[in-house]
């Protein structure tokens, strides 16, 4: 039941947003705030760690897509890391798994992003 979001930045300036719990119409505004904070702090790319997320609804999708749009406007990218089957299911059903850069872990994303 517990929900939490936290953020930090890697050496290369990429922001990492880590979410635990269910992302829905109630909790997604908190994800949005932290993503915006990271952008405002200068990150052009973000890694969203979904390894501890079991549930993601369209409110969460909307926020991820808004983030992707903003990132790409500035030459950046959004990496979705460690998606569990249920989250993958939502992304697949909406075709968004082909829109985001899907990675298995935060470290893989850091590697891919290079000096983002």
């Amino acid at each position: 039941m517990d929900f939490s979001v936290s953020a930090d930045r890697r050496e290369n300036g990429i922001g990492v947003v880590t979410i635990c719990g269910e992302v829905d119409v109630y909790t997604s505004p908190r994800v949005r705030s932290l993503m915006l904070e990271q952008f405002d702090a200068g990150s052009t790319s973000l890694i969203v760690d979904l390894a501890k997320v079991d549930y993601l609804d369209s409110s969460g999708l909307g926020i991820l897509v808004a983030g992707l749009k903003r990132a790409r406007e500035h030459g950046g990218e959004i990496y979705l890391a460690g998606c569990k089957p249920r989250v993958l299911r939502v992304l697949e059903v909406t075709g968004l798994n082909r829109v985001f850069t899907m990675v298995s872990s935060v470290d893989e994303a850091v590697g891919k992003a290079g000096g983002a």
Binding site: V65, K69, R89
Partner: protein, 146 residues
Amino acid sequence: MLVTSPVVELRAPCHAEYVSVVRLAVLGLCGRAPLSYDEVEDLRLAVGEGCASSVQRAAEAGMDDARLTLRATVDESLIVLEIEDDVPVPPAPEPLEQAVMDVDFNDQQFRVSLMQLLVDEVNIEGLPGGGQCIRLTKHCVASDGQ
């Protein structure tokens, strides 16, 4: 369409924080139906979308006292889940202020499409006294998709 009377009814404030309660109840209700884990989770997601749709309409209407009702009829072969609210439906769809994105994920139509991908049937109707009812139908017999 249905003759059986609703067996379980859950009423809650039409606020974002109660959607998870409704989803948990769906888990409890469908957990013993002849459905796979993924089918139950799909239903839970579909109901979550239906509730989010009501919650969003209530917020847009500034209706703090709106109520949300889940009505569930679950039997061996058929699950019908109705999500009802008392938020007046605006006469015509309001123009979206943002047409930049291909899809607006908070758009009610997107939620409906998602529900349609997750269950067998989605019916939406306005209620006589105002408000709206989304009816989700899922057939339990395997590979009987329609």
